[in-house]
């Protein structure tokens, strides 16, 4: 080394006191992160893993011994193969259709500007947040004999289920792909055009590959939602069509065959883990690369007449055409639902809505009381999901230096995605079986008003994580380092940087958690006490009862539920600043 200044032994004492060197464990930090990991893990273990394991165990343990003969038995039934085939077939077809329709939709709604775009985007989102029961009722009322589209004789067909699944999941593709497309740097495409590529070739060879991770990620999610669809398929499928999830419900509640239910739960888990793995890979790719421009720099106005500077106008028109047709197809069931709820004995009236105030037939409460129960439950569930999901997102957003720790974080992330796909029916029934003495404690949680919110929170946690996490991950690590060099301890960095920046996405997370909880049906159908049904449970009971009045009430209740959910999500979207906000 050259030119060293000799370290002076006899220099004056420092003006700023240097704390002595020490290498002790930072107790506060270890404790804090330990809690951030322990609380969600404990929650997941007690309220998800345990009930599921107990339920699955009931199928495989006879007389205290492991008995896997259930697999052979269940798989020897043709019915099982039909259901598995239908699940995969429906999910695959619905995913392909959703992507094929969703990509043009993403282009039209996120790369083009036109009057009323905000309203159209909101309309597209409505089906996604609608409770599955409502989607089922809306399609059913459209397709039944005597309905507006009754002449197509689609009631109870594969096509009807497919249409409902695409209706439900179109928004997932549009939002995920559009969110990325909007920010994609347009100069790469412009460079391709400059090199002589036609608009179509530039799209196919430059833009599509850049969007591929988002498309893959969205497709995996859609597949997941379709493969585990419950309420929609239960209402539309009749006896001929089902998914593994509805089959688990039928085996559990109708045939009381817990062994078959357990086998099917495992099959579903295998499918789900496979899909989540693919989704995780696609997401990881997406979060790594890509050069993004500021939101909106790539957005051009949409015009029907060709303008000189408008590149690829025929493509844009084709996309806009497809989108317009899809929008119409989305609007029809929604409008029909409202219209039919107003039909009374060949005339028009608010009779069905008036009937919502009185106790419904066979149930001690009115629909309005059920709605109040739903909201109360959803508030509790949202709070729980926000705390647990927020902690998970916080932990997963960290990139530790050690590889083993990074793997642990990735595993932690995957773990909390599981409730998205594991049979909610299994979870719900598992709750009933395990919560009489949770952890051996002498409290019967089955009568607790917290039971339903907890079950719904289990489902909502992944939504919260996926909404908040991308925002936390997008914070430049050097921002935290800058704060550190300014004297901010890790706790203060968290409080002054991560929390304010993530807060922008929390509004949206609240909205989605609330909507998911309001619409949750699979687990709630088991857990809601007879005298305290939630709105989706009420709707399902009303459909099951004969008579046009009950049916009319079900339609009216569905409209109330849809309006409630849409209002909550619209409110949450308002809270979203800028365009940050996760995967959907």
């Amino acid at each position: 080394m050259t030119s060293l200044t000799a370290p002076g032994p006899g220099r004056t004492a420092p003006a700023v006191a240097v704390r002595p060197a020490r290498r002790r464990l930072p107790v506060g930090r270890v404790l804090g992160w330990g809690l951030a990991v322990a609380v969600p893990v404990a929650f997941l273990a007690v309220f998800f893993a345990w009930p599921v394991v107990v339920m699955v165990g009931k199928g495989f343990v006879t007389d205290g011994r492991l008995d896997l003969s259930g697999f052979a038995d269940v798989f020897s039934r043709p019915r099982t193969w039909r259901i598995v085939g239908q699940t995969l077939g429906q999910a695959t077809a619905a995913t392909v259709l959703s992507v094929a329709l969703g990509v043009p939709g993403a282009y039209t709604l996120y790369r083009r500007r036109f009057r009323g775009r905000a309203a159209v985007r909101a309309l597209v989102t409505v089906p996604f947040v609608l409770p599955t029961v409502v989607v089922g009722v809306a399609f059913r009322s459209l397709l039944v004999d005597g309905g507006p589209l009754g002449f197509l004789h689609l009631d109870g067909t594969f096509a009807a289920i497919l249409a409902a699944l695409v209706f439900f999941n179109y928004a997932v593709v549009v939002r995920a792909v559009g969110g990325l497309w909007e920010r994609l740097d347009p100069r790469a495409t412009q460079a391709a055009r400059g090199l002589g590529a036609s608009p179509w070739r530039a799209f196919r060879t430059v833009e599509l590959p850049a969007l591929a991770p988002a498309i893959w990620s969205a497709a995996s999610l859609v597949f997941l939602f379709c493969a585990t669809a419950f309420g929609t398929v239960l209402i539309l499928g009749g006896t001929r069509f089902g998914t593994i999830e509805t089959e688990i419900w039928i085996q559990t509640t109708q045939f009381l065959d817990l062994r078959a239910a357990a086998v099917l739960s495992v099959v579903q888990l295998v499918v789900v883990v496979g899909v989540l793995t693919i989704a995780g890979r696609a997401r990881a790719r997406r979060e790594r690369a890509l050069s993004l421009a500021a939101t909106g720099t790539a957005v051009r106005p949409l015009t029907l007449r060709r303008r000189p500077a408008d590149d690829g106008h025929p493509l844009a028109l084709a996309a806009a055409g497809v989108t317009a047709v899809v929008l119409l197809a989305i609007a029809v069931p929604l409008v029909n639902l409202v219209v039919r709820s107003l039909r009374v004995d060949g005339g028009w009236g608010l009779d069905h809505y008036r009937a919502l105030g009185a106790p419904a037939p066979g149930v001690p409460v009115s629909v309005w009381q059920a709605a109040a129960t739903s909201v109360e439950t959803a508030v509790d569930a949202t709070v729980i999901a926000l705390v647990v999901g927020g902690l998970v997102a916080l932990v997963v957003s960290r990139r530790p230096r050690r590889r083993a720790a990074r793997r642990a974080v990735a595993g932690f992330d995957a773990l909390f995605m599981l409730p998205l796909g594991v049979s909610a029916v299994t979870v719900g029934f598992g709750f009933l079986v395990t919560m009489d003495r949770p952890l051996g404690l002498a409290v019967d949680l089955r009568t607790s008003p917290l039971l339903v919110p907890i079950a719904q929170a289990v489902v909502a946690v992944p939504l919260v994580v996926r909404t908040v996490l991308p925002v936390l991950r997008a914070i430049d690590p050097r921002l935290r380092e800058a704060a550190g060099t300014l004297g901010a301890a890790p706790g203060r960095v968290l409080r002054t940087l991560d929390v304010p920046l993530a807060a922008r996405s929390v509004g949206l997370a609240i909205g989605f958690a609330f909507a998911a909880s309001l619409g949750e049906f699979g687990a709630t159908s088991f857990l809601a006490r007879p005298d305290r049904p939630t709105l989706p449970v009420m709707v399902f009971r009303l459909i099951g009862r004969p008579g046009p009045d009950n049916y009319g009430m079900a339609l009216a209740a569905s409209v109330v539920l849809a309006a409630l959910t849409a209002a909550i999500v619209a409110l949450a979207e308002r809270l979203r600043a800028g365009q940050v906000g996760g995967d959907w």
Partner: protein, 350 residues
């Protein structure tokens, strides 16, 4: 009060033995009031070294000390070392004053506001306090970042290419401003850059880094006059090297006069030529002044920089070098031009 860096090594990768050694055995001191620049090409480890000093990268070996006290185990936020990034890293959710005040925790409100105003004034942004940071230009952002880093009166300020993202004119102006601010506040600083002019404009001493090692650390003029070895000289812009014993070295040594060693006294030494070591002349009489009678070069190409012509010439026994030429001179490739020597752009490496 001195920042002492002792044999510091930074290794990336899982195991210290197998990883990439980004920084390898670097030692230097920064006493109070001094600005040290670390100069090197990208990837030479200078930023890693800076992050290690700040406490953001763990040390694989060595120590960072403040007045003899080892800082190992002292976390970033307790070191009171300011750090300024290339892209500022301002907090977008706070306004300018909120950014500058971030490090002033525990200071009473009135004193804090006063300090913020004082610093904004110092960096030439008086009255900008309530502006959202998104409305600032690149140069203004860096000024805010500087004010923010200086606000808590850091014991040392570490600057990681703070001017590199700016355009040239702004960079040159800010380099001068930066120097005056650092001198005015008496803050010792370590300044990392790949731009030699910037380093020479800002620093009291300049260190040249290469492949994780600190090759030489010296005041700018001394570094320029005596780069020490060929790697350093090449990085500083010395473009041709001639063995002192070679016949073509004779006119160069003659031009150096008393500074030149005799070839027999310095075996293995080389004469290093910076851009402009040769000057094209049209005045044949002047050829004798430099004692370089008959020194000629073959023109390869002519470029213009800030109005002056730079001529790429082939000189026999030296190779291709960049010679300065008078304004307005015109040559075609292949022309043979007479050359004189500017001794200030020539040095001898041991």
């Amino acid at each position: 009060m001195t920042l002492q860096v002792r044999d510091v090594a930074v290794v990336y990768g899982e195991r210290p033995s197998a990883g990439t050694r980004a920084v390898d055995g670097v030692s230097f001191d920064v006493p109070t009031g001094e600005v040290v620049a670390l100069l090197g090409p990208s990837g030479c480890g200078k930023s890693s070294l800076l992050r290690a000093v700040a406490g953001l990268e763990p040390l694989a070996a060595g120590a960072v000390l403040w007045d003899g006290a080892d800082l190992a185990g002292v976390p970033v936020h307790r070191r009171a070392f300011g750090l300024m990034f290339q892209d500022g890293q301002l907090f977008a959710h706070r306004d300018v004053a909120g950014n500058v005040a971030y490090g002033l925790r525990g200071v009473p409100r009135a004193a804090r506001a006063g300090r913020v105003a004082e610093l904004l004034d110092l960096v030439g942004l008086a009255g900008y306090g309530s502006r959202p940071v998104a409305t600032l230009s690149g140069g203004e952002r860096q000024r805010v970042a500087l004010a923010r880093a200086l606000a808590p009166e850091p014991r040392v300020l570490l600057l990681d290419e703070p001017l590199s993202a700016l355009d040239r004119a702004l960079r040159e102006r800010l380099a001068v401003d930066l120097r005056s601010v650092l001198v005015a506040t008496g803050t010792p600083a370590v300044f990392v850059t790949h731009d030699q002019d910037e380093a020479f404009a800002v620093a009291d001493r300049v260190g040249v880094m290469h492949a994780g090692r600190l090759l030489r650390l010296a005041p700018p003029d001394e570094l320029w006059r005596a780069p020490g070895d060929r790697d350093v000289a090449a990085f500083l812009g010395y473009e041709a090297f001639v063995d002192v014993a070679a016949p073509s070295a004779a006119p160069l040594l003659a031009a150096l006069g008393a500074r030149a060693p005799r070839p027999q006294d310095a075996p293995g030494a080389v004469v290093a030529l910076a851009e402009g070591a040769f000057v094209v002349t049209r005045d044949a009489a002047r050829e004798d002044i430099g004692g370089a009678a008959g020194l000629k070069g073959v023109v390869r190409g002519v470029t213009s920089r800030r109005g002056r012509s730079e001529v790429r010439v082939d000189v026999d026994g030296v190779g291709a070098v960049t010679a300065l030429a008078p304004v307005g001179a015109r040559w075609e490739p292949g022309d043979v031009v007479p050359l004189t020597i500017d001794a200030d752009a020539v040095t001898v490496l041991p």
